[in-house]
Structure formats: structure tokens, C-alpha cells
């Protein structure tokens, strides 16, 4: 097992810059999720780590060895493809055994290791079936089996759950994480689904237009988003932005939102006057009749355990996650109260988060 380190990695296709000067390190045994919308460069980054794509510039180190221009076959990595990429003309056994066959491992050993791997993934009963008849989940497991049988230095996965249906995806998320806990392999996992990333990863790199916007643990990214883009990409419903126009002084502990004073974490820098946004997570909002931030109920989405209530305020529509016991009439006026310790402030022009006590120990990507 090993460490992956990429330094100033860049990839250009013609005029299009797919990945721009990215650097990060995945420590030994760590599970990193590359998260972003389609076209953000996450798959290209992964393919460069795999050696399926060669970078325009930058360096890739696998266990301190420079592998930047090695072909995939010379890197000792395993890759799980979005469409599984099973060999359709081979049965399950031959699919899983193929990486060993390529390396000239003796037949008897291949057989033993295939069976061992299949047992681990609980697919030993379908070893002699054709892969074309398998259900999505089993195909997924075969692809995983083919990846882990060789005990490679690291696993790279490109949206491996993208084609499964929602219900099954849930099951596979847990299975994948459990597998990771068991074999402890360094893993880079590409996905556009924030839920998958949050549920599985030790670290998340949020990408946008070829740039890594933020790199950190799921909690860091969720609680202290480095930019409006990250704040909006993570969470469902995403973070609410309440716009206001103001400048900020270092040490300020409150802002004026539509003439109402709102307590915020202590601001850590001076900001020239401009368009700003107060970022509030839906679960950090409580309804309180005393509050002077008021709005009309615009709609509610009942979710059983809790509900999402959309409230139209002077600063825009705000969604709050509250317990399901209370019901609302449309148009009913309510007061909103925020948890002051959890609020973030963004500069609308750059999208950047303003330094504050909330961000005291955050690394920016």
C-alpha cells in the first residue's frame, strides 16, 4: 500500500484546460473522493493518476517514485471503470483472474486467489456465470474483484456506482466503505454525488472547472466551505445564501441583514464594501416568533422524520430543515433564528469565504 502525491498537475486538450495546476497528497490507506459536476476535470485527474492519460505538465508520485510518464501497465494500480469494463467474452472467473494471467501467475495460484477474492466479495456462487447476464450489483462486485485480486498499490474508481439504481447504490456505498476498512487500500474515488463522497471518504477534493476549490475532511468541507461554489455543491438542500451589501471590519461580531442585526462568528479580516452573502445551512435555522428576520412560508416538503420549509424573506428564499411535527399554512408569516456559531460569510464577487473564527483552522485548497 502506498501514498499518492500529485504536484502542479495540468492537462490541456487543445484549447480546453481540463485540469489546472492541481496538487494534493493521498496518504497511505486514505480514501479520497474527487467531487464535482461533470466536466470539472475529476475524471481526467483520476485517469492521469492511473496513467490512462498523460499530463501536459506536473508530476505524479506513487510511493515517492516518479511515475508521471509511465504507462498504466507499469504503475501497479487498479482502476474500476464507470461502466465496469468487464470483458464480455469471459466468464466471472476469467474476468477476475485476468490481471494475474497477464502477469504470468501459475494457473493453480490464479484459481486459488480468484476463489479467495470471490469469497471476500460474496460472489463465489456465480464464478462460472457469463458476465453479460449479471445484475448491476454483481457486475460491480466482479469489477471490484478484478481490482483487488492483484493487491495493487492503490485503487482508482471512476463513478463506479453511477449506473446502479438509487436503492442499490445505498447498499453499495456501505459495502465499498466496509471493503475499504477491511483491506485498507489507498483509494481515489471520483463521483458527482455529494452523498457518496460524504458517506465514504476520509478526504474530499471539490473540483470546479479544472481547479480544486477545497480539499479537506467531509466535516471541514461541510461546516467550513471555502467558497460559495462548495457551499452550494454540498448538502441537500444546499446552503442558503442571504445577500446583503456591506463592508466588514476585522473583529466584527455581527452584520446587518435587511436592517436586522445578525450575530456571526468573529470576522478575521477587513473587507471593502461590496455584495456579500450570509451562508446558512438549513439545519441551523430555527423558527422563532421573537426573531426579527421574518418571511412567508412558500412551500414545504415533508420528509417523514423532518421537513424542509421554504420561507420567502426580503433577502431571498431560505430553506430550513425542521422537525416534522409542526405544519404550516402557505403564506403564514414566521420568524427565523440562526445558530450564530455556524454562519459563514462570502464575498459574492469572488465567491470566497471571509475569514472568521469559524474558519480559524481551515486550509484552503
Amino acid at each position: 500500500m502506498s501514498e499518492i502525491k500529485i504536484v502542479n498537475l495540468r492537462k490541456q486538450f487543445g484549447d480546453f484546460v481540463a485540469v489546472e495546476d492541481s496538487s494534493f497528497t493521498v496518504e497511505d490507506g486514505e480514501f479520497l473522493a474527487l467531487l464535482g459536476p461533470s466536466g470539472c476535470g475529476k475524471t481526467t485527474t483520476l485517469r492521469m493518476i492511473a496513467g490512462l492519460e498523460l499530463p501536459t505538465s506536473g508530476k505524479i508520485y506513487l510511493d515517492s517514485e516518479d511515475v508521471t510518464f509511465n504507462r498504466a501497465s507499469a504503475r501497479d494500480i487498479a482502476f474500476v471503470f464507470q461502466l465496469f469494463a468487464l470483458y464480455p467474452h469471459m466468464n466471472v472467473r476469467r474476468n477476475i483472474g485476468f490481471p494475474l494471467l497477464s502477469q504470468g501467475v501459475p494457473k493453480a495460484e490464479i484459481r486459488a486467489r480468484v476463489e479467495e477474492t470471490a469469497k471476500l466479495l460474496r460472489i463465489d456462487h456465480i464464478l462460472d456465470r457469463s458476465v453479460s447476464g449479471l445484475a448491476g450489483g454483481d457486475r460491480q462486485r466482479v469489477a471490484l474483484g478484478r481490482a483487488i485480486i492483484r493487491r495493487p498499490k492503490c485503487f482508482l474508481m471512476d463513478e463506479p456506482l453511477g449506473t446502479l439504481d438509487a436503492e442499490f447504490r445505498e447498499v453499495m456505498v456501505h459495502e465499498l466503505r466496509e471493503l475499504h476498512n477491511r483491506i485498507d487500500a489507498t483509494t481515489v474515488y471520483v463521483t458527482h454525488d455529494q452523498h457518496e463522497a460524504m458517506a465514504m471518504a476520509d478526504k474530499i477534493a471539490v473540483m470546479n472547472h479544472g481547479v480544486i476549490e477545497q480539499f479537506g475532511t467531509p466535516q471541514e468541507i461541510y461546516n467550513r466551505p471555502a467558497s460559495m461554489y462548495v457551499a452550494e455543491f454540498i448538502g441537500s438542500p444546499p446552503m442558503n445564501f442571504m445577500r446583503f451589501h456591506s463592508g466588514l471590519k476585522r473583529g466584527t461580531r455581527s452584520i446587518l441583514l435587511d436592517a436586522v442585526e445578525v450575530a456571526v462568528p468573529e470576522v478575521g479580516e477587513d473587507v471593502a464594501p461590496g455584495e456579500m452573502a450570509l451562508g446558512v445551512r438549513p439545519e441551523h435555522i430555527r423558527f422563532s416568533d421573537r426573531s426579527r428576520i421574518r418571511g412567508a412560508v412558500y412551500g414545504s416538503e415533508y420528509l417523514g422524520t423532518n421537513q424542509i420549509v421554504a420561507v420567502e424573506t426580503a433577502a431571498g428564499i431560505v430553506k430550513a430543515r425542521i422537525s416534522a411535527d409542526r405544519s404550516f399554512r402557505l403564506g403564514e408569516t414566521v420568524g427565523l433564528e440562526f445558530n450564530p456559531a455556524k454562519l459563514a460569510i462570502f464575498d459574492c464577487a469572488s465567491g470566497r469565504a471571509i475569514a472568521s473564527s469559524l474558519y480559524a483552522e481551515v486550509r484552503h485548497g
Partner: protein, 318 residues
């Protein structure tokens, strides 16, 4: 997704050296296979002596003699007689007189060529029209024994044409269809329609039923839905099928040689019968061949996408 966009740049992409070597071999092969065709064209603008000289001539004075001989019938005359004629009226006249001959009248080439056009386009139109309707029927409705029927229809193409030709020859003689354009059109339509139904059924199967269902819910009848929704989406399939039918009908020889002899004869059986004095008149044959091949060449180049789709699609389905 993004992996699809970037796959073209993948390391599994052949290296520039591999591409160069592959390109060189393929281009060499292509050039070699073009030699016979180039030779046909060159021969068509040679004089008869040039065409049979040894070693074969690549450099020569081009002449239209082959084309003249193709389009005309000529008679040999004494030089005195030719001297006495009024001045020649055209290039062909002049060339012919140079060989001590005079033009006696037009040859049968253009009528035969016209037959080919009429029969090929007529049968293609019919086969594609009937085929589209039947393919839709087979694709969308439960027709009893549909699979067996389709398979049987297609398997008749395994018969050698000569075997089918015997009873058709007798039948046509009975109904007065021998050596008529109508007879040939019907025959080629019947041969092509089986392939047309087969191909088009595949194309129409690919058009989801939801489109028609949506139209029917929106207030259209099934016929209107077929016309407004299915046909526009099937156009590439129909075009691909039409090219196939056309090529078959245009090139067909066996039925044509057995069932036509005069007024309805097409070009393929006619061209080999072009005879000059003392053996085959190769420039004339080459000229006739060139003119006959040109439409198909143009077709191939213009419609290569549909053609490729049709061939591979037909192959993969069967």
C-alpha cells in the same frame, strides 16, 4: 460522461509511429486495388491499337474513339467512297472516317443504359415503399408466425439465382412478362423487398414506440403518427436501404441475362457483348464500363455514411 470526452486522448490510442505504418500499408493496398479501375478509365480514352500494344501504354494520346465506337454502329467503306462524302459533321464522324468507316446509326448502349436506370430506380422505389410499410407492420403489431415468415423470406436469398430463374422464366413466358421492364422491376422488387423488410424492421425497432404513443395520446391516429413521427425518424434507415436495393438492381446480371434479350435488357449483360472488328473492341467496352460505373462511384462517395451504416447494420442484425 467526461471519460467519454477524454477517451480519445487515452494512452490506448495508437502511437504516431503505429499510425504511420498502418496508414502506409492501407494506402498502398488502396492504390493497388485501384489499378484495375484506373486501367478501365485509361483504356476508354485509348485508340484500339494503343489498347492492345505491348508493353501496356501508360503514356498515349487520348482519343474519344472508344466512346464513339460505343455509341455508334459503323460500316467499312472504301477510301474513295469516304473521300467523296461531304465534310464530317463531328468528332466521331471524323475519327470513324480515319479508320475507313462511316457511322451507320446509333448503338444500343443508351437504350440499355436507360433500361438500367428505369429498372433500378423503379424496383428500388417499390421495394423501399413496400418494405417500409411491411417493416412497420412486423415491428409494431403481433403478426402470426412473423419470425418464421421473416426468416423464410430471407432464406430465399440463399437460392442460386439460376435456380429461381427456371420457374420464373416459365411463369414470365406464360404471362408475357419476359423481356419487359415491368417484369424486371417486379422481379428485382421481390428480391430486394425481403432484404428491405429485414433491414428496415431493424431501423424501425430502434425507434421507441413511445413516440407514436405520445402522438396518439396527443390526438393523432396511428396512420398519422406513422407518417409524422415514424417516417421522419426512419429516413436514414430508408436511405441506407434504398442504396442497397439500388446497387443490387443496378449490378444484377444473372436474371437479366436469362430473362431479357432485347427491349428490356439492362447494361450488365449488354456491355460484354460489345464487339468490334476482329474481337472485342476494348476501348469501347472500357468506355461503356466507365459510364456504367460512374453513377455507383459517385453514389458511394456521396452516401458513404449511410452505406457503411447499412452494411454493418444489416450484417450485425442477421
Amino acid at each position: 460522461m467526461s471519460s467519454v470526452n477524454t477517451a480519445a486522448h487515452s494512452v490506448v490510442e495508437p502511437t504516431p509511429t503505429a499510425k504511420r505504418i498502418a496508414g502506409t500499408i492501407v494506402i498502398l493496398y488502396a492504390l493497388v486495388t485501384m489499378i484495375p479501375l484506373a486501367w478501365i478509365f485509361l483504356t476508354s480514352i485509348k485508340s484500339p491499337p494503343d489498347s492492345i500494344s505491348y508493353p501496356p501504354k501508360v503514356v498515349f494520346t487520348p482519343t474519344l474513339e472508344g466512346f464513339c465506337n460505343l455509341f455508334t454502329t459503323r460500316t467499312r467503306q472504301t477510301p474513295d467512297y469516304i473521300q467523296a462524302l461531304p465534310p464530317p459533321t463531328g468528332t466521331c464522324d471524323e475519327i470513324t472516317r480515319g479508320r475507313n468507316m462511316v457511322i451507320a446509326g446509333p448503338s444500343n448502349y443508351w437504350p440499355r443504359f436507360g433500361n438500367s436506370l428505369l429498372i433500378a430506380f423503379g424496383s428500388t422505389f417499390l421495394a423501399v415503399s413496400l418494405g417500409t410499410l411491411a417493416a412497420y407492420g412486423f415491428s409494431r403489431f403481433r403478426v402470426p408466425l412473423a419470425d418464421d415468415l421473416l426468416f423464410f423470406i430471407l432464406s430465399t436469398r440463399m437460392m442460386p439465382p439460376i435456380a429461381v430463374a427456371i420457374p420464373i422464366y416459365l411463369m414470365y413466358r406464360q404471362f408475357g412478362l419476359s423481356d419487359t421492364a415491368l417484369g424486371m422491376i417486379l422481379l428485382y422488387t421481390a428480391v430486394n423487398v425481403s432484404l428491405a423488410v429485414w433491414l428496415l424492421k431493424g431501423f424501425i425497432d430502434e425507434i421507441p414506440r413511445e413516440y407514436e404513443e405520445a402522438a396518439m395520446i396527443d390526438g393523432y391516429t396511428r396512420l398519422q403518427a406513422f407518417w409524422k413521427v415514424v417516417l421522419p425518424q426512419a429516413t436514414t434507415g430508408i436511405a441506407a436501404t434504398a442504396i442497397f436495393c439500388l446497387i443490387f438492381a443496378w449490378n444484377e446480371y444473372a436474371f437479366a441475362v436469362l430473362l431479357t434479350s432485347g427491349s428490356a435488357q439492362t447494361a450488365p449483360p449488354f456491355i460484354p457483348t460489345i464487339i468490334g472488328e476482329g474481337g472485342q473492341d476494348w476501348p469501347a467496352v472500357a468506355a461503356g464500363t466507365t459510364i456504367f460505373l460512374v453513377p455507383i462511384l459517385v453514389f458511394t462517395i456521396i452516401l458513404r455514411k449511410q452505406l457503411l451504416r447499412g452494411i454493418t447494420f444489416g450484417a450485425v442484425r442477421k
